[in-house]
């Protein structure tokens, strides 16, 4: 069976800097794939290429078999891809509930129905007590949760998480991990996650892609990848080996 998300040889450079070079990997339906790599490896650029913020210079991206490279972000969202932003972008002047309703309106143009969907998602993320607070007043961990809630409210087939665990306390990380495990098991939600918190990556993904200098340097199970000399070198430096 073809993978839900297929990335084939995509590249993108910014005024000469090759941020992403010939990157290819697949995310099978129902999988949780981790995308890791040192700072500046091109992970977020890779996300932005998949989500339609940038157009890949070469290569193809397919979602459920359909080519989506060159599409706008809103078209890609409607095709079933939800994403969070590494630098959170809440609708600061709106309440938590209203933020999530905006996402839920993709599922139903009826505001009442969208509110019901949003209330469920808000509860799932443990944001009920803050549901009428302005999003701008939230703490960073809550803003990260709100990012996830908003993306989930669009009922995506695949969810792209960009460092949602960063800045969370270990207990909060565990709660988030449990939530994604549950969504994955119960709804079959496919997840592609950029993550530096290895505790979360190890707990969630059975498959990891490692980027370095815009290129894929290793793929495989967490155990294999973390023993891969190339991976250790890029994280720890040549001398450490």
């Amino acid at each position: 069976m073809a993978a839900l998300l297929e990335i084939a040889g995509i590249s993108k450079s910014f005024s000469g800097l090759k941020a992403v070079q010939n990157v290819s990997f697949d995310v099978p339906e129902g999988a949780i794939v981790g995308l890791i790599g040192p700072n500046g490896a091109g992970k977020t650029t890779c996300f932005n290429l998949v989500a339609g913020v940038y157009r890949p210079e070469v290569g193809e991206i397919r979602l459920a078999g359909r080519r989506i490279d060159g599409w706008r972000p809103d078209q890609i969202c409607r095709a079933g891809l939800g994403r969070t932003f590494q630098l959170v972008k809440p609708f600061a002047g709106l309440t938590v509930m209203e933020n999530v309703v905006v996402g839920a309106l993709k599922q139903s143009s009826n505001v009442r129905a969208a509110k019901e969907i949003a209330a469920r998602v808000v509860a799932e993320l443990g944001l009920q007590s803050k549901c009428h607070a302005p999003a701008g007043s939230l703490t960073l961990p809550d803003r990260k949760r709100l990012e996830v809630a908003r993306a989930l409210a669009t009922a995506p087939r695949i969810l792209l998480l960009d460092e949602v665990m960063a800045g969370l306390r270990p207990t909060e990380t565990d709660r988030m991990v449990a939530l994604f495990k549950d969504l994955n098991a119960r709804l079959g939600l496919t997840i592609l996650m950029i993550e530096h918190v290895m505790r979360a990556v190890m707990a969630l993904s059975r498959h990891i892609v490692v980027l370095h200098h815009g290129q894929v340097i290793a793929v495989g199970a967490p155990g294999e990848v973390t023993r891969d000399p190339a991976v250790l070198e890029c994280y720890l430096g040549e001398d450490a080996l």
Partner: protein, 340 residues
């Protein structure tokens, strides 16, 4: 009914609003002509302010050229009336069509080619200036010498042709102001309303949630232009004269955004409160100046400037949000009690 229209609105707010509306309906029976003309101005600014607020307050698209839509609406209806005797109730559709397509053109140019923020605002000014220059030289509608409607016969009110006493215009504009309020109220609770707020707060996040930025920005610009043009139709038939130098001038565009800014951008009551405060105070100032026998040109503009300064310094959200809190009318608190 209550569920759809009023959910979350505190009941004493509804009572207050009903009393205010009843007072305004009965007002012409007790007021003199002067007070009625002041109220006409207030309604006019509340109406066009509401239309502008739809674009800026809801969707975050700053227009500094809304006089363009007032002027296009005014000239289209006036020209059809003067040259062909067409009733304004028919020609208003032409006004709406002209203003909406001009708004659509500006929106298309801006949103297709990524002109945003202050550059978008400059584009709106530019189009208003184009129009001012074009109408200055268009003799079919009088050119720079002005375009005049046959002066109304105040003996009887002719609603079909919008010829009549200030009292008739009072009720026409009151209806429009209430209508604009109800329309914006309904829009704010619709999908489009949520999408506009999302675009105002963060276009990137909005787009990532499946919102077609181009489409929803176009909707709001076209709608705002169309609404504003209706204000222009009434403007033309009320004043009976149109001069491009006045109608399309940037000071007119600025004047019509003061009410929502002072009342509270992005709020439904802001444009109305702002129009009441500004117009009533400016007229009061006029009276005082006349009483003491001073004639200072531009005193109104200085007064507007001071109001703006005061609001920016002390009430950055406008007058309405703190006022609503003081009157316990803010919706958020009353909703909070019902839970999520």
């Amino acid at each position: 009914m209550r569920g759809r229209w009023l959910d979350g609105a505190p009941s004493h707010g509804i009572i207050l609003l009903s009393l205010l509306l009843a007072a305004l309906i009965l007002f012409p029976a007790v007021a003199n002509d002067y007070l009625i003309t002041v109220l006409i101005l207030i309604f006019y600014f509340a109406y066009v302010g509401q239309a502008w607020n739809l674009m800026m307050g809801f969707a975050g698209q700053l227009s500094l050229g809304h006089a363009l839509y007032v002027g296009l609406g005014a000239y289209a209806a006036a020209a059809l009336y003067v040259h062909f005797g067409i009733s304004p109730w028919l020609s208003l559709w032409a006004s709406v069509a002209v203003a909406a397509s001009t708004g659509g053109l500006i929106g298309f140019l801006a949103f297709r080619f990524g002109v945003a923020g202050v550059y978008f605002a400059i584009l709106t000014i530019a189009f208003a200036e184009f129009a001012r220059l074009a109408f200055d030289h268009w003799s079919w509608v009088g050119g720079s010498a002005g375009f005049f409607l046959p002066v109304a016969n105040y003996a009887k009110n002719d609603l079909i042709n919008l010829r009549g006493s200030p009292t008739m215009f009072y009720y026409v504009l009151l209806t429009m102001t209430v209508g604009a309020f109800l329309l914006c109220h309904a829009l704010l609770r619709s999908r489009a309303g949520y999408y506009w707020l999302a675009i105002r707060e963060s276009p990137e996040a909005a787009q990532a949630l499946g919102i077609n930025l181009f489409r929803y920005r176009m909707y709001v610009v076209v709608l705002s232009a169309a609404m504003t043009s209706l204000g222009g139709v009434v403007f033309a038939f009320y004043y009976n004269n149109l001069f491009p130098e006045q109608v399309f001038h940037i000071s007119r565009s600025i004047e019509l955004i003061l009410a929502p800014i002072i009342g509270g951008i992005g709020t439904l009551f802001g444009p109305i409160i702002g129009a009441f405060l500004l117009t009533a105070l400016a007229e009061g100032l006029d009276e005082v100046m006349r009483a003491v026998g001073l004639d200072v040109p531009g005193v109104k503009q200085i007064f507007y400037g001071l109001c703006l300064l005061g609001v920016v310094m002390f009430l950055p959200d406008g007058v309405w949000p703190p006022l609503a809190k003081a009157l316990r009318l803010d919706r958020r608190r009353s909703q909070g009690q019902t839970g999520c």
